[in-house]
């Protein structure tokens, strides 16, 4: 009987830091090839359609940017949360509230036009997302309520609230009774970057800016240091005089605002009106993006693009080869599994040992706390 044993490296391995994403991707490809073969499809052909075709056409690159923008925006905010050991998994709800708050302007004041409209909407969207994120933060700091669950439950509430709004008070009176608000006027629509080439809008630029700013914050400023210290060891942080409650609020408000910005950018840029459903689960997928990018804002940009590619590729194989859309989900799950597994190699060496050898005496040493993100 053999078993795995982890041996902690004295310091993180630079080699595996660089290699692990590639190993993970390679493993995903191998597992994917088996999956495609089982489905009776030529794996090479499937991979060509899945991974190459979507990035070989200009319009698809634009679509990639549209799909990746909200994922990156949300995930960048979440990375700060997770580094601070604050578990916001309700970004989907904050995204929706951002969309609602921002849309209030064009829906309630359809006659209001001009260059001021869009900045105001974006601001409102950020405020909406942040305000909604403040609820779990408040409950956590005030009552110690588990934020994983409250933030998640609030997602459902947000979905029902949006549903009620677009079917009730905000419904387009000329819309034949269908659940949609009016179409936003032109000055409330987020412009496209290169209208002749494709649909990508300014949302993608916001995502890139947010990633760079948060990266600077985390790596260059004291605040980032505070986040990391409090995240890895709350006690050490307290000794250093950092406030735990303030940190919870900071993380939630920042990630809520970014999710809200993503929400209003999506509604104003890609949809142009409010609908009962404005997100195909971006808030949840972004959690995966955050971890795929190893909670590093710049890594998240790459991860967001890769994940967007799995969606586009999933659609491509679906229409070209008739493969079920579930394949894309399985791919995402496998990719994340392999990335998480391979990242273990950065901190540990893996040894295969026989059972008999492991019965050595245990040493009394503090277990390394890995909860802190790598």
């Amino acid at each position: 009987m053999m078993r795995l044993e982890l041996v902690k490296r004295p310091q993180r391995s630079m080699l595996f830091s660089a290699l692990s994403p590639f190993i993970a991707f390679g493993l995903t490809i191998i597992a994917g090839a088996i999956l495609f073969a089982l489905l009776g499809v030529n794996p090479l052909n499937a991979f060509r359609i899945y991974f190459i075709e979507p990035v070989s056409q200009v319009w698809q690159l634009h679509e990639l940017a549209i799909k990746a923008a909200p994922l990156i925006l949300i995930a960048v905010g979440l990375s700060v949360c997770y580094k601070a050991n604050v578990w916001n998994i309700g970004a989907e709800g904050q995204f929706i509230l951002g969309g609602i708050f921002g849309s209030a302007i064009p829906v309630l004041f359809p006659g209001f036009e001009g260059p001021l409209v869009l900045p105001l909407m974006l601001l409102f969207g950020m405020v909406g997302g942040a305000a909604y994120a403040a609820i779990p933060a408040l409950l956590k700091t005030r009552f110690g309520t588990n934020e994983i669950l409250t933030s998640l439950m609030l997602v459902y509430v947000a979905q029902f609230f949006l549903d009620w709004l677009v079917r009730g008070p905000w419904r387009d009176p000329q819309g034949h009774g269908f659940p949609q608000t009016i179409q936003f006027n032109d000055s409330a629509v987020l412009p496209e970057l290169m209208p002749d080439a494709g649909r990508a809008n300014w949302g993608f630029v916001f995502a890139l800016i947010a990633a760079v700013l948060v990266w600077l914050l985390m790596s260059r400023l004291l605040k980032g240091f505070e986040v990391r210290v409090l995240g890895s060891s709350p006690r050490a942080g307290r000794f250093a005089g950092f406030g735990l409650n303030r940190m919870v609020f900071f993380a939630f408000l920042l990630s809520g605002a970014l999710a809200g910005l993503a929400g209003i950018s999506e509604v104003s840029g890609a949809i142009g009106q409010l609908q009962p459903v404005i997100s195909p689960g971006y808030g949840f997928t972004a959690i995966i993006v955050a971890f795929l990018g190893r909670l590093n804002p710049l890594g998240i940009v790459a991860a967001g693009l890769v994940l967007a590619l799995t969606y586009l590729g999933g659609e491509a194989v679906q229409s070209a080869l008739g493969i079920s859309d579930k394949v894309a989900r399985v791919f995402q799950g496998m990719l994340l599994f392999f990335v998480l597994g391979c990242d273990t190699l950065i901190h540990y060496r893996i040894r295969l040992v026989g059972m008999a050898l492991t019965k050595g005496a245990a040493k009394l040493e503090a277990a390394p706390k890995l909860k802190e993100a790598r």
């Binding site: 409950l139 588990n146 994983i148 998640l152 459902y156 799950g333 040493e365 277990a367 909860k371």
Partner: protein, 306 residues
């Protein structure tokens, strides 16, 4: 009288899968592991249960398949988080993602097929006692399993030596390890028990609740189960109470609508979630109580040094 009995029976059916999945997760969390993949394990259990029942014609085989599938699927999580020390939150989320995708692929051939339903218990004379007969002796077999399971877990955690060991691992894996306890082995077993429970809960969905297979049929129940564990501050009997309170709110909002109460249905539909938040707050306000029961090393990976 009949209507009350019927409503209670409906609540029991709605509460049973939540209870089972939550009890399983409770044991996992008591051992110090946080598995957010309950939804994924549940849906895998549902598809395996339906499939095995449909193919063999025996819902009992379906039930066993659901349990086995849940346990096997949770092994994936165990290898990742316990042997490779990966982040538990992220691993659990990817388990859910993978489960939703895989179950959809596996279930393609089962769509639109009527499945096998586990028969309700029937004991001559006893089941026919007015009012209590149906409640006590006329429900589906998994209902009885869920109650027995709760009692068994209560006894196991607080009355047995192994249960004490498990709890001590959850409170401090380093000290448990120092005492020579095989932390990882215990946790493997706990995670697989949780998986088996989630699988059984999924089996309840596709073999009792709505005997059919459809994609995403777990519809978020795995997440509710997770909330129930915290709600119960890691106490089995409170999980039972929580599952039934949630079931009652869930069924109650439908009755309120059928009764014609003029409140937007969206508000009624969000009641169960709002209620969960309120109760979570009420529970966590009592800090001493929560601290006492929370497994201190919950969610932290453990790598034995040697």
């Amino acid at each position: 009288m009949d209507i009350t009995v019927n409503i209670l029976l409906t609540i029991a059916t709605a509460a049973t899968p939540l209870l089972i999945a939550a009890i399983g997760e409770l044991v996992v969390e008591r051992s110090g592991v946080l598995n957010l993949g309950v939804e994924g394990m549940m849906i895998m259990g549902a598809v395996a249960g339906f499939g095995a029942g449909y193919l063999t014609g025996s819902p009992w085989i379906g039930l066993l398949a659901a349990i086995a599938m849940g346990a096997v699927f949770s092994l994936l999580f165990a290898v990742m988080t316990l042997s490779l020390a990966t982040n538990q939150v992220a691993t659990g989320l990817s388990l859910t993602l993978l489960g939703l995708g895989l179950s959809g692929m596996m279930g393609t051939g089962f769509v639109g097929q009527p499945g096998e339903k586990l028969p309700n218990l029937y004991i001559p004379v006893l089941t026919e006692i007015p009012v209590v007969g149906k409640l006590l002796f006329g429900q589906d077999p998994i209902f009885y399993i869920s109650i027995a399971l709760t009692a068994a877990v209560m006894w196991f955690l607080f009355k047995t030596r192994t249960g004490l060991t498990l709890r001590s691992i959850g409170d401090s894996h380093t000290s448990a390890h120092a005492l020579g306890i095989k932390v990882i082995r215990y946790r493997y077993l706990a995670v697989m028990f949780g998986g088996a429970c989630a699988g059984l809960a999924g089996g309840h969905l596709s073999l009792v609740y709505t005997p059919q297979w459809v994609e995403n049929m777990s519809a978020g129940r795995g997440w509710i189960a997770l909330a129930l564990v915290v709600f119960a501050s890691w106490r089995p009997w409170r999980v039972l109470a929580g599952a039934y309170i949630f079931g009652a709110v869930w069924i109650g909002q439908l009755h309120a609508q059928a009764f014609g109460i003029p409140v937007p249905s969206q508000l009624l539909s969000s009641l169960p979630y709002l209620a969960t938040i309120v109760v979570l707050v009420l529970i966590s306000r009592n800090k001493r109580l929560t601290m006492m029961n929370t497994p201190a090393s919950l969610g932290q990976p453990f790598v034995p040094d040697r």
